[in-house]
C-alpha cells in the first residue's frame, strides 16, 4: 500500500476542469516531482491532497484511509501533511520562532516549553539559529522559505507538499532551499513537489510526473522520463524547459 494514492481525482472550477482524472501513487519515503507548464494543474493537485480544495470525483487515500470522503474533518488530515508555498506565506505579525510554534501549540495542544527544544533544533539544523527571533520582513527570501519549511516540519508531518517553493527566489538563493529538500529526502520523508527546477527534479526525484491540462501524460523514474520521454507532448515540454 502506498502512502498516498490518488484514484481518478477530478477537480473543477466552474466549467474549467483543472484535474481530469488523476491517478498517482506515492510510496513511503518517495520523492515525487510534478512538472508541466503553467496552468497544468500542479498547484491545484497539491491543494487537493491537503484538502484545501474539495474534489468533484475520485478519491484520495492516506495510508489506505479515504481522506476525500465528503464531511470528513480536514484538520486531522492537514496536521499530518505539511505544505510549503511559492510565496512563503509566513505570518508577518509573528517572529520566525512563533510562526513555527503556533501549530504545535494550537493543534497538538503542546506547551511552549515542551516543543521549544525540538523547534529550536529544527532552526539550527537549517542554519537559522540566529534568525529565529526575526520577523519575516527582516529575512531574505531564502531564509523565509526555510522558515516556512521549518514551520511545516514542526508539526512532524508524515508527508510534505511543496508548491514551486523556489520560484519566487533570487537565483543565488535557490540552492540553499533545494539543499534543505535533499536533507529531508535523506531522512526518508515522503514528498510531493511541483517544480520548474528540472535539474533538481532529475537529480533528486524518485519519480517524475508530467502534467498537461489536468492529466498525467507520462510518469516514470527521473532519468527515464528526462532522457527517454515517450510522449510527443513530454518531449516538446522538455525541449522547451531544458533549453
Amino acid at each position: 500500500m502506498a502512502k498516498i494514492e490518488l484514484r481518478g481525482v477530478v477537480k473543477r472550477f466552474g466549467e474549467n476542469t483543472v484535474c481530469d482524472g488523476i491517478d498517482l501513487d506515492v510510496s513511503e519515503g518517495e520523492m515525487v516531482c510534478l512538472i508541466g507548464s503553467s496552468g497544468a494543474g500542479k498547484s491545484t493537485l497539491l491543494r487537493c491532497i491537503n484538502l484545501l480544495e474539495p474534489i468533484e470525483d475520485g478519491a484520495i487515500f492516506l495510508d489506505g484511509q479515504d481522506i476525500s470522503v465528503p464531511g470528513l474533518d480536514p484538520q486531522a488530515v492537514r496536521a499530518r501533511i505539511g505544505m510549503v508555498f511559492q510565496s512563503f506565506n509566513l505570518f508577518p505579525h509573528k517572529s520566525a520562532l512563533e510562526n513555527a510554534l503556533l501549530a504545535p501549540r494550537r493543534v497538538r495542544g503542546q506547551s511552549r516549553a515542551d516543543i521549544l527544544p525540538e523547534v529550536e533544533a529544527l532552526f539550527a539544523r537549517f542554519g537559522l539559529a540566529d534568525r529565529m527571533h526575526n520577523y519575516p520582513d527582516q529575512l531574505s527570501g531564502g531564509q523565509q522559505q526555510r522558515v516556512a519549511i521549518v514551520r511545516a516540519l514542526a508539526m512532524r508531518p508524515e508527508v510534505m507538499l511543496f508548491d514551486e517553493i523556489t520560484s519566487a527566489l533570487d537565483p543565488q538563493l535557490v540552492g540553499e532551499v533545494l539543499d534543505v529538500l535533499l536533507t529531508l529526502k535523506s531522512e526518508g520523508i515522503t514528498m510531493v513537489m511541483a517544480t520548474h527546477e528540472m535539474g533538481f527534479a532529475r537529480e533528486a526525484a524518485d519519480k517524475v510526473c508530467f502534467l498537461k491540462d489536468g492529466r498525467i501524460i507520462e510518469e516514470g523514474p527521473a532519468a527515464k522520463l528526462f532522457d527517454h520521454p515517450q510522449h510527443a507532448e513530454t518531449q516538446a515540454f522538455l525541449a522547451r524547459a531544458l533549453k
Binding site: A76, R80, R106, V107
Partner: protein, 277 residues
Amino acid sequence: MPHQQTAGPTRRQIFEARQRRKSLVIASASTITVVVALIVLVPLAPGWSKVQQSFFNGAVLAKSFPKLLDAFMINVMIFAWSAPAIAVLGLLIALARDAKSPALFPLRIFGAAFTDIFRGVPVILTVYLIGFGIPGLGLPRPWNSPYIWGSLALVLTYSAYVAEIFRSGIDSVHKSQRAAALSLGLSERQVMQDVVLPQAVRNVVPAQMNMLIALQKDVSLLSFIGPVEIFRQAGVFKSLMANFTPYVGAAIIFLIVTIPATRYADYLMARQMRERS
C-alpha cells in the same frame, strides 16, 4: 583613484542643506505675509469691533474657561466608557457578519441589519430616540439616566461604522495567509483568531483612530438629551453673559485634543502607506 573618506560634508550634502534653507525661508516669508495681512486687514472690516466683542472677548473667555474645562471632563468620561464598548461590539458585529456556518445564519442577518440601520440614521436622531425613548418607558433611577442611554446610542451608531472598518481589515488579509494556516491543521476559528484578526486589526488602526476622533466630537450630541457637557455648558455661559466667546473657548478645548490626535492618525496612515509600498 581610491575613494577617500573626507571629514566634511560632501558636495551633495552641502547642496541639499542649501536647498532646505532656501525652501524654509520662502515658506516662512509667505506664511508671515498671510498672517500679517489677516491681522491688519480683518480689524479694518466695519463689523470687526462688534464681532471681537461677542466672539473673542478675553474677559469672558478667562471667566468661562475653567468651568468649560470641568464640563469637558464629562465628555472625556462618556468617551472613555463608550470607546471600549464600541471596539468590542464593533468587532463582534464584524465577526457575526462574516460567520460561515449555517447555524450562525441568523447572526449574519442580524449583523447586516444592525450596520444598515445604524449607519442609515443620523446620529442625533438615534441619540434622541434612544435617549428619550428608553427612559420614557418609566424606568426607575438610575436606569433612566440620559448618560446611559445617550452613551448607548453612540455605542450602537459607532459600532456599525467600526464593524465595517474591521471587516475591510479582515478582507485586506490575503487569502494565502488562510491557506497557510489551514494547511498547518488550524481550525477556522484558530485561523481567524491567531492569523487573520491580528493582521486585520493592525491594518485598520489608523482608520479606527479617525473614528475615535469623530466620537470625541459627537459626544457633544448628548447635550441635547440632558448631560451638561462642554457644549451645553458653553450655551449656559452664552445666555448668562450674552456673549458667544464661550463657544470659541469650547472649540479651543476640542482642538487641543483633536489636532494632536488627527496628526497622529495621519502619521500612522502615512507610515502604513510607506510599509505597503
